[in-house]
């Protein structure tokens, strides 16, 4: 098992920069998710860690050892691909045993290790099947088995559940996390699906345009987004941004939002007057006649336990998550009240969060 350290890692293809100078450490035994939209550089970062791509600049350290230019096979890392990449000309057992065969292990030992791995994944009964006959979930288990059988220092997974249907993905999320808890291997997991990242990861790195925007636990990333991008990318529906202009002083507990004063968590930095955004999660909005922000109900989306109500206000369209029992009429004018302790503030110019009592402790990438 291993700690992975990335230092100033950069990768460019001709004129295009895929990954831009990120530095972070993945601790031993962590389930680390890299989350971001497609093209954000997460897969390229993963491939550099694996040795399938060489960085333009920077270093990759495995347990303190610089492996930046080691070839893939010399790193003792296992990779799980989205398309599973099971060899079609081998059966399940041969697929799982393949990495050991590459190492030249004795046949009897390979058989034992394959058996043991298959038992762990509950696919013993499939060992002599053809891979083409397997279901998506079983293929994924075989791919995992092929990764596990070698007992590598770390697992790298590139959207391993991306090719499964929604129902199965949920099941495999649980299995993957369970497996991680049992073998405690450092795992780097790339996904664009925030639900996968949130439900499995110990740490999430949110990436955008080649940069790591924020690294934190799922709670930190959700509750204390470091930038407007993170706030917008995580959460469904995403955080609402209400624009206003104003200056801030450290110690303030309220901001002047257009004509009214809005309570916010204690501000921890001074700012000259600039365009700002008030960030509100949909679940931190209540309907109240006395609410400072007023608007007209535009529509409601029923989701079972809750409903998402969209309201047109003078500062843009706002989504609120209300109990499904609340009665809402389209077109009616209502007041919105925010949960003051959970509000976030952003500087629109830089897109970064402004330090407040709840924002303390976040790490910028």
């Amino acid at each position: 098992m291993a700690q992975i350290r990335i230092e100033n890692l950069r990768k460019s293809f001709d004129q295009f920069t895929a990954v831009e100078g990120s530095t972070f450490t993945i601790d031993d035994g962590t389930f680390f998710a890299m989350l971001g939209p497609s093209g954000c550089g997460k897969t390229t970062t993963l491939r550099m860690i694996a040795g399938l791509e060489l960085p333009t600049e920077g270093k990759i350290l495995l347990d303190g050892e610089d492996v930046t230019f080691h070839r893939a096979a010399a790193r003792d890392i296992a990779f799980v691909f989205q398309l599973f990449a099971l060899y079609p000309h081998m059966n399940v057992g041969e697929n799982i045993g393949f990495p050991l065969k590459c190492q030249g292990m004795a046949r009897r030992e390979i058989r034992e290790r394959v058996q043991e791995t298959a038992r762990m994944l509950r696919i013993e009964h499939l060992l002599s099947s053809k891979t083409s006959k397997l279901s998506g979930g079983d293929r994924q288990r075989v791919a995992l088995g092929r990764a596990m059988v070698r007992r590598p220092k770390a697992f790298l997974m590139d959207e391993p559940l991306g090719a499964l249907d929604a129902e199965f993905r949920h099941l495999m999320c649980g299995e993957l996390r369970d497996l991680h808890d049992r073998i405690k291997a450092t795992t780097v997991y790339v996904t664009h699906d925030q639900l996968e990242a949130m439900s499995m990861a110990d740490q999430i790195a949110v990436m955008n345009k080649g940069r790591v925007e924020q690294i934190g636990t799922p709670q930190e990333v959700y509750d204390r987004p470091a930038s407007m991008f993170v706030a917008d990318f995580i959460g469904a529906p995403p955080m609402n941004f209400l624009r206003f202009e104003g200056g801030l002083r450290s110690g303030d507990r309220a901001v002047s939002f257009h004509d009214t004063s809005l309570a916010v968590p204690e501000i921890r930095e001074d700012r000259a007057s600039a365009p700002l955004a008030l960030g509100v999660r949909p679940e931190h909005i209540r309907f109240a006649d006395a609410g400072a922000v007023r608007g007209e109900v535009f529509g409601a989306e029923y989701l079972g336990t809750t409903q998402i109500v969209t309201v047109d206000t003078a500062y843009g369209r706002v989504a609120a998550r209300l109990p499904s029992s609340a009665s809402v009429r389209i077109g009616e004018t209502i007041g919105l009240e925010f949960n003051a302790e959970r509000l976030a503030l952003f500087d629109i110019g830089s897109g970064l969060a402004i330090r407040t009592a709840i924002g303390e402790g976040q790490r910028h990438g």
Binding site: G51, L52, F79, F81, F84, A85, F98, C102
Partner: protein, 320 residues
Amino acid sequence: MTAAATRSTAHSIVEASPRTKAFAGGLVILYAVITILPLLWIVATAFKSQSDAIAYPPKVIFEPTLEGYVNLFTVRTRQTPDFIAKLPPPETWYDQLVRKRDMVIAGPSKVVPRFVNSLIIGFGSTFLAVFLGTLAAYAFSRFRIPLADDLLFFILSTRMMPPVAVAIPIYLMYRQLNLTDTRLGMILLYTAVNVSLAVWLLKGFIDEIPREYEEAALVDGYTRLQALRKVVLPQAVTGIAATAIFCLIFSWNEYAFAVLLTSGEAQTMPPFIPFIIGEGGQDWPAVAAATTLFVVPIVMFTVLLRKHLLRGITFGAVRK
């Protein structure tokens, strides 16, 4: 939709109607007859006597003889009946066959060495073209190569004119290099012509193989070449088989260069067959016999690789 409504539809969009199927089947059979008939005629002519072979109207029913094959494999001299009568009795059936025509066998003809030349040059150049083509196609498919598109176009451009257009320069070049009438020369020439086809065909096939397969192998401990040999090649077998057949057919049938560049030692079958001359002109049964034997290896090769060839042609249609 109800059953009645289904029945009221004249024919479905996906399933051809019986009439369409019958028509299509008829066309296929007609085409098969048109293409197979000349082959059958050649096979039959090989068993005809000289006079039956050139009879008009053509004889469909005739008395079969092995004279054509005997003439193909032997060189004979005409003798007087007195001389033949004085000889010891014929030792073999073909001696007997030849003596009936007042001739004796003087020795073997050159057909066997020519056939061996064809085999060595045909399969040798096919192997080289496919081998080089696979490596080049893999590189073009997987690595970032500066000017890759220009290089690929350059490779393709070598096929934009008929190879014979450069026959004279090649002849001069070969004379300078002492490659005329050598097997090596012919293998190199056919390889050069075929390798462009091989690169383009194989690149298409290798592009279709997800690179994750070999990347998985790279991570699991293989070197790049091991991954190519043990992971990529087994999956590219269909493409390689299809390419090999195309290359072999070209080099096996090639006539113009063979006439120009070979005359003795390295002569292949195509320039040899037309000059099988008997007494008083072309020995048609012997020519037909040679043609029959000439077709056999390519038919065998194609039949052996047929399974792969069919999959090769439809490859990429269905994502596995």
